[in-house]
């Protein structure tokens, strides 16, 4: 069984982004870029399934600028067998990415696609569900446990109120939540090995997909700042402030 794992190059989660002064976007020049953390969890899960021999091949895919190659190399250092870069400088929105991935799924015929539940840059939380709809496949989003059993996969999901378990017929789509696994540290020998793994380049045109953005960003602004608060010396003062100043208790 083959697994496809899409990975996105995003601003590192430790970076606090700044809005550009002309309000056209956030400034990502010279900031550290990394693999979207949820996608790292997806690569790790696929790799573990391969180590258990449930899966025979893990194919990592990234859609975006040429530097997304680095993200694919990281995926291959974790354990993906090969990479496919769908290279474009066009701003890709989730629907466009889902269409690109559908074209690749049609070509590669995986039984499972594991994606991060959301990217920490646009916070959209759409691509996996959209891909499932375009393929007509079942989905289990926000996964915290995945067990493949023959032609089915049982997935425990993090939902409002607790956990829910679904059984899906393969082929299927899974999106990862934080508790699914803890991705391994990438070791130097594995980084070296990853450099020798095959990486294929294609374009949206090769796949016959129109990736023109559907949503137009009119403005990007700073969120309203909170007014600075005060430090209180002790619990008694805190209670007094809450009762008499803030009037919330």
């Amino acid at each position: 069984m083959k697994v496809l794992v899409p990975v996105k190059r995003v601003v590192d989660y430790n970076v606090k982004v700044r809005v550009k002064s002309d309000h056209t976007g956030v400034d990502i020049a010279n900031v550290k870029m990394s693999m979207n953390p949820f996608d790292e969890i997806a690569v790790e899960e696929a790799t573990r399934l391969k180590e258990k021999s449930t899966v025979s091949e893990v194919v990592a895919v990234s859609c975006g600028v040429a530097q997304s190659q680095e993200t694919l190399r990281t995926a291959m250092a974790i354990g993906a067998d090969r990479g496919i870069l769908v290279q474009t400088d066009v701003e890709l929105q989730p629907l466009a990415v889902a269409k690109l991935l559908k074209a690749l799924v049609d070509k590669e015929q995986p039984q499972l696609v594991i994606l991060g539940k959301q990217a920490i840059d646009d916070d959209a939380n759409q691509t996996g569900q959209m891909l499932a709809a375009l393929l007509g496949w079942p989905q289990a989003t926000f996964a915290s446990k995945v067990e493949v059993d023959g032609d089915k996969v049982q997935v425990t999901r993090e939902v409002d109120g607790g956990l829910e378990t679904l059984s899906l017929s393969l082929p299927a789509i899974i999106t990862t939540d934080l508790r699914l696994n803890e991705p391994r540290y990438v070791t130097l020998p594995n980084i070296m090995k990853a450099k020798k793994k095959p990486l294929e380049n294609v374009t949206p045109e090769d796949l016959g997909v129109d990736v023109a953005p559907r949503l137009k960003t009119l403005k990007v602004a700073e969120p309203p700042a909170r007014q600075a608060g005060i430090m209180v010396p002790d619990v008694a003062t805190l209670v007094d402030k809450l009762k008499n100043e803030a009037k919330v208790v």
Partner: protein, 309 residues
């Protein structure tokens, strides 16, 4: 212009998140209909019909819709999607699960997690964990939207008298099935809609220690929350997580105990009206957003605060 709001419910109760999505629909303008897709959900439809500003409730009652499986619920929405200019879901786990399936099938972009309506085609939404607010415009014929419920004051639950129409439920997709649920029973308010939230972080030290927040939450009538660090460490269940990728809360009072304040956590609570932070580290970033900060050992301060309230 007609808006369709997809109801959040458990087949018995209409969830408050629905009423916030109705408020967003009202800000867009035009008629507002609610779709209740469920099983044995007549009571939910009756409640939805009373929501202020709603002119029609469509009840699709079918065994295929009992567990809210994304494949079936999306198909149900698509049955009637052609009648609407805007389709709104609350940005809950259930709404986020289904909405993109609907958008993809309609070949339209989805606008996720809107916090403001500027016009019928222009919306504000947070990006980068709320560190930037994007204003986006959609040229698509149908706008599929998820609504950040804390950004819209719920419409009145009573006072409306919408007509209830029945729709045939879709057939089961046959591709997914419900196995089970582990929901903790709690008498506390729901985290996402609570007016007071008491949250603990890594500073709590253990699941056992986390329990010292119980009496404080009891006194305040609060929901309990947690930082990602506390959930990852197993101190608190996953559905308590407040943050960029967990729950977004905006209560009247948010009490952060032993939480350092990573940007991902702040993204989930910085719109709270009053924020109290208790932490022994005076340098903790949580103090940067707190209205009232107390540098103290939480194991002394929390019981003392509980007694003083």
């Amino acid at each position: 212009m007609t808006n369709l709001v997809i109801a959040e419910h458990d087949n018995a109760q209409l969830k408050g998140a629905t009423l916030s999505a109705v408020a967003a629909a009202a800000a867009i303008g035009g008629d507002i209909h609610i779709l209740v897709a469920g099983s044995g959900a007549q009571a939910v439809a009756d409640q939805a019909a009373k929501a202020a500003g709603v002119s029609k409730v469509i009840l699709a009652d079918s065994a295929s819709l009992e567990y809210g499986l994304a494949e079936n619920v999306a198909a149900q929405v698509l049955e009637i999607a052609g009648n609407y200019s805007h389709i709104l879901f609350p940005a809950t786990a259930a709404g986020k699960n289904v909405a993109p399936r609907v958008a993809a099938k309609l070949d339209v972009a989805q606008i996720s997690d809107i916090i403001a309506v500027e016009s019928a085609d222009t919306f504000q939404r947070p990006i980068y964990a709320g560190n930037a607010i994007a204003t986006v415009q959609s040229a698509d014929s149908v706008k599929v939207i998820t609504v950040r419920t804390t950004a819209f004051d719920a419409v009145a639950a009573e006072g409306g008298s919408a007509a209830i129409e029945n729709a045939d439920g879709v057939a089961d997709s046959g591709k997914s099935s419900f196995v089970g649920r582990e929901f903790a029973k709690s008498d506390r308010p729901e985290l996402a809609g609570a007016s007071v939230v008491v949250s603990g972080g890594r500073g709590m030290g253990s699941a056992e220690n986390f329990k010292i927040l119980d009496p404080l939450a009891d006194k305040l009538g609060a929901a309990l929350g947690a930082s990602r660090a506390a959930v990852d460490a197993g101190y608190a269940p996953n559905d308590w997580q407040v943050g960029q990728t967990g729950k977004i809360v905006a209560p009247q009072l948010y009490v952060a105990v032993g939480i350092s304040g990573a940007i991902q956590h702040l993204a989930g609570m910085k719109d709270s009206k009053v924020i109290v932070a208790i932490n022994k580290d005076a340098e903790a970033p949580i103090f940067g957003v707190a209205d009232y900060g107390l540098v103290a050992d939480l194991f002394q301060a929390v019981p003392e605060l509980t007694d003083a309230l």
